[in-house]
Structures are given as C-alpha cells and as structure tokens.
C-alpha cells in the first residue's frame, strides 16, 4: 500500500450449506452435474400456490457455523422476504433474514488479527443464467436454469476490520477452513459454493472517518479476491490523489483484464421492501439443541494449528496449511502417531499431497528419513502404493529400489565418472561450482537413479579434493 494511506475492508461471504435437500423444498441440492431444470419442484420453481417449508438441517448448519465463529445464537428468529425482480429469482422475492437473523456478533482470528463477525443468517440461493451471445450487456436473450434455486445459502457478514488484500484473502481462507472442518459447507470457491464480496474503502492513514466504499463482486478464487482488493485499493488511492472522488457503486472483477470495473451505481439505495415471510412461522431456537451442537463441534482449525505447533514443533506456516482441510490435519497426526517424525511428515504432505493411509505414509517417510530411498524413488514408491495399496517397504524390496548408500560402491562409480569427465573435474577444482552438478547427474545416471545423492555429493567433493 502506498504510504500515507490505509484501507478499510469488510467482507460478505456466502456459502452453500451441506444439506441433501434444498432450503424450502425436498428437491435434491446436489445439482452440479444435473440437466437444466431437472432438480426442481413447485416450490423452487415458484409455481402459483407453492409454499416453503424450512429445512431443519440448514438451520442446524448455520447454528454450527455461528458457534464456530463465536457468535450469539438468537432465541427468536424469523424469515423475511427480500423483494426484487430478476429472472434467476423465481418468486420475485428471496426468502432471507432481515432484522432477526439466526446469529449476531462473533469473531474469528486470522494471522495477526481478530476479525469481528456482524451476523450469520440463512437464505436461499438463486438460479443460474446462461447468456446467449457473450456478455450480459450484449446478449440478445438468456437461458434460465433453476436447479440451484432454493439451495440453502448462508451469509456471513464481517465488520470492516480488514486492512489489506492479504488479510481479505486470509479471512476468506480461514472461513473456508472453518466451514469445511465443521462440515457446514464444501466451500469450494471454484464451484461457487463459497462467494466472497469485499467492501473496500481507503482513507488517509490515521483518519477517523471512513471513505466512500465500493462493493466488489464476481470473485471466483482466493487469488482473484486478493488481486481485486489490491487493484481496488490502488485505484481508489490514485483517484483520490489525482483530486477525484470515489463513487459508491458495485464493481465487478474482470479476470481477463485483471481489473475491477463499474457495474452499477448506487445513487439510490436498493429498496428490497423486506417484510416478515407470512408463509413461515417464526423460529424459536431451543438452547438445549444449540448446546448439543456446540458440544459436538470438532476442534477448529486455528485452535488445531496452535496445538500442532506446540505439540509437534512444526512451523506456524506449515501448521496453517495442514489445518486448511480437516482430513489433511487428521492424516498428519495419525502419521506422526504411527511413528514418523513430524517435520518430514509435514514437508512431505505439503509438497506431495499423498493419498495414503497413516501407516503407509509413516513407512514411506521413514524410508526417506532413514536414507533407504531418495526423493525420486520415494515418489515412485508413493505412486505405486497409491495405485495398488502396497506397503512402501514391500515396493522398495520387490523393485530393488533401495538407494545405493554403500560408500565402496558409490566410490567406484564416482571414480569412473571423474575419469570419464576430466574437464568437468578440472572446472570444479578451479572454482566452477556448476560442474559439480553435472558430475552428480552422471553419478545418478550410472546408478539408474538409485544413488543416495546426499552421500554421493559428499563423496564426490571429497574425491575431487583428494585427487
């Protein structure tokens, strides 16, 4: 960020909830691979006379999320109608929550900051539009698919506590990890299961008053989120520094152009004419139910991350990556419990994403740590074990993969290589370090890749010094 300025960022994150059926009807919510308009019924099509009935599991998922985000759960809540016309909104209103959301005021920690959560509420997703032609603005007509209409959607609103593109991205990633850890959402941004909108404004460093904000939409990945926020902060600062004014508006993120663009000016506030949904009685949330959900919550990612650092001595950075997926952290801990050292396990998992059970992964890591096989061989072993479920030790034995760590045998190969490439040997001796690499490659070649490269490197240096 340019010196003298600071950014103020609040986020609105929508997440599709993990449920089997839709929010207000019994259609399957597993619509991703379905034919258009084949996961629909009277209710989600908005046919005349159809009525909504709320899905208890969706309410539970919101409560679970809200608890994980340290929010207060409302005892009394209700649904409201948000009225507007758009062809992906079959009823002409979205059932949402306005002034009595399921939960209020919580917080979540991201690296270096505690972010306050304003509210978490429950609503329904819209359908999808396909624009014939190219862009929305020029398409002559659009196609409407309502399979997604009515899928349970949760909105998590933060206070404007974030101050940089990094923090905006970290916040979204933290939410994703939490949602996945508690099983509330698959939260895949690329699949549209997690959608982030950022409200961005800038002000002179130390200023108290907030600047005019813009709302960023159409963000499909954490990377785009980072870039969009970064671009927008710079854009706003440039506008203000050149004497211009920021217009309150919605701006889209264009992936091809890597810039934000004006979508809709908010000169008049939207008038959604919210009113209580008369088709749904108000909700009374049983505190006993809430306590039950709270007690069943798994360890949350940031708590787990701290514990992994403390117990296993891995770095915060590695721990942060491992807890992004609950299953990954589970595998890490099980592998360590199976007798492999923590740091190499973490390294291997982060670098190579093994799909092995803990016993096999521990065996594999131990073969590497113990010097039996080198990295390339280990990758080969891992591939085979993943393919047919063999034990890594058996693969090494059957394929004769064990690396050559015998000093005598390696010494012979090294002697032969030096004899064969005297010029390279001479270059190294006269200070050309790169020549060592060329000689090592020859050693690797002559041993069919089985040489213990660490040992070979040491022996080669020694031989070159001696002769």
């Amino acid at each position: 960020m340019r010196p003298g300025w600071e950014a103020v960022i609040g986020m609105e994150v929508h997440a599709q909830l993990s449920t089997r059926s839709k929010m207000f009807c019994t259609c399957s919510s597993d619509y991703l691979a379905a034919e258009p308009n084949a996961h629909v019924c009277e209710v989600c099509l908005g046919l005349p006379g159809a009525l909504p009935v709320a899905n208890g599991k969706a309410v539970e998922q919101v409560i679970r999320t809200a608890l994980a985000l340290n929010c207060k759960i409302a005892e009394h809540s209700k649904f409201d109608r948000k009225n507007y016309f758009y062809p992906d909104l079959p009823k002409g209103y979205q059932i949402s929550q306005y002034d009595m959301p399921l939960s209020l005021t919580g917080w979540v920690d991201i690296p270096g900051r505690r972010v306050r959560i304003t509210r978490v509420h429950l609503e329904e997703d819209t359908g999808k539009l396909v624009h014939a032609g190219d862009a929305l603005a020029t398409a002559q007509e659009s196609l409407v698919d309502l399979n997604r209409a009515g899928v349970p959607l949760m909105e998590i609103v933060s206070e404007p506590d974030l101050t940089s593109a990094d923090e905006a991205r970290d916040y979204a990633q933290t939410l994703r990890a939490v949602l996945r850890a508690i099983g509330a959402s698959e939260a895949e941004m690329e699949k549209g299961q997690l959608r982030a909108e950022a409200n961005v404004s800038v002000r002179k460093a130390g200023a108290v008053e907030l600047g005019v904000k813009t709302e960023l939409k159409n963000i499909n990945s954490f990377r785009s989120l980072h870039r969009a926020v970064e671009f927008e902060i710079d854009r706003q600062i440039e506008v203000l520094e050149s004497g211009g004014e920021i217009v309150q508006e919605t701006r889209g993120w264009s992936e091809p152009d890597q810039r934000t663009f004006s979508q809709r000016r908010k000169e008049f506030a939207d008038d959604y004419r919210y009113f209580p949904e008369p088709d749904l009685p108000p909700l009374t949330i049983d505190p006993v139910w809430v306590e039950g959900i709270r007690e069943a919550l798994p360890e949350l990612p940031h708590v787990r991350s701290k514990r992994l650092v403390e117990v296993h001595g891995i770095t915060e950075f590695d721990a942060g990556l491992l807890v992004q997926e609950g299953a990954t952290a589970d595998l890490f801990e099980a592998t360590v419990a199976a007798g492999a050292p923590a740091k190499p396990v973490a390294n291997w998992m982060i670098s190579h994403q093994p799909e092995l059970d803990a016993a096999r992964l521990a065996e594999l890591v131990n073969l590497v740590v113990g010097g039996t096989i080198n990295r390339d061989q280990a990758l080969e072993v891992m591939a085979q074990a993943q393919r047919d479920g063999s034990r890594p030790g058996d693969v090494v034995r059957d394929k004769g993969l064990a690396q050559v760590s015998d000093e005598g045998a390696l010494g012979e190969v090294i002697g032969a290589v030096i004899a064969e490439f005297p010029q390279a040997a001479a270059d190294f001796r006269s200070g050309n370090q790169r020549a060592l690499g060329a000689l090592l490659a020859e050693v690797k070649k002559k041993t069919d890749g089985r040489a213990n490269m660490k040992l070979a490197s040491q022996l080669l240096r020694d031989s070159l010094k001696e002769s």
Binding site: G56, Y86, A139, E141, D145
Partner: protein
C-alpha cells in the same frame, strides 16, 4: 416502478386519484397510539416446524417447462437482460 406494472402517464393520474382516497381512509390509523403495541405478522400463534433433510423426487424437466412461454434445450428463455444482477 418497483412493482413492474408498466403504467402510462394518464393511468398514473387515474390510479393516483383512486389511491389517494384509499390512503386518506388508511390515514385514520394515525389516530391510534400504538407505541407500546407489538406487531402481529401472523394472527394464529404457530410453532415453526422444521423439515427433515430428506430429498424426494420433484418434477421432471418436461413438467417444469410445460407452461413456459419460451423454452430451449431444457432452459427457460428470457429476452435480453440489461440490468446487472441486483
């Protein structure tokens, strides 16, 4: 405009005149002091019943599209949308 009713200018006058009579009658609500009164959204106190998360077959694509003014390849078709998404 919010209601998307497409009124012409002379109709607006006609409706405005009729509605002003109704609004005048409605204005009598202002006579009542309701500061301490709770609003009623539903007259009969009902308990919310939450549904089990159990998917059931809905309509077929053909049933879903049967009443559509225009359809193609399993989709509903609408004319050019010029407003961006709300």
């Amino acid at each position: 405009m919010l209601a998307r009713l497409g009124l012409e200018a002379e109709e607006e006058d006609y409706y405005a005149q009729q509605l002003s009579g109704i609004l005048e009658h409605i204005g009598r609500l202002g006579e009542l002091d309701t500061d301490s009164i709770k609003p009623t959204a539903q007259a009969v106190p009902l308990e919310a019943r939450l549904r089990q998360d159990q998917p059931e077959p809905g309509l077929t694509q053909e049933q879903a599209l049967a009443n559509a003014p225009e359809r193609r390849s399993g989709f509903f078709v609408v004319k050019a949308i010029q407003d961006p998404e709300p």
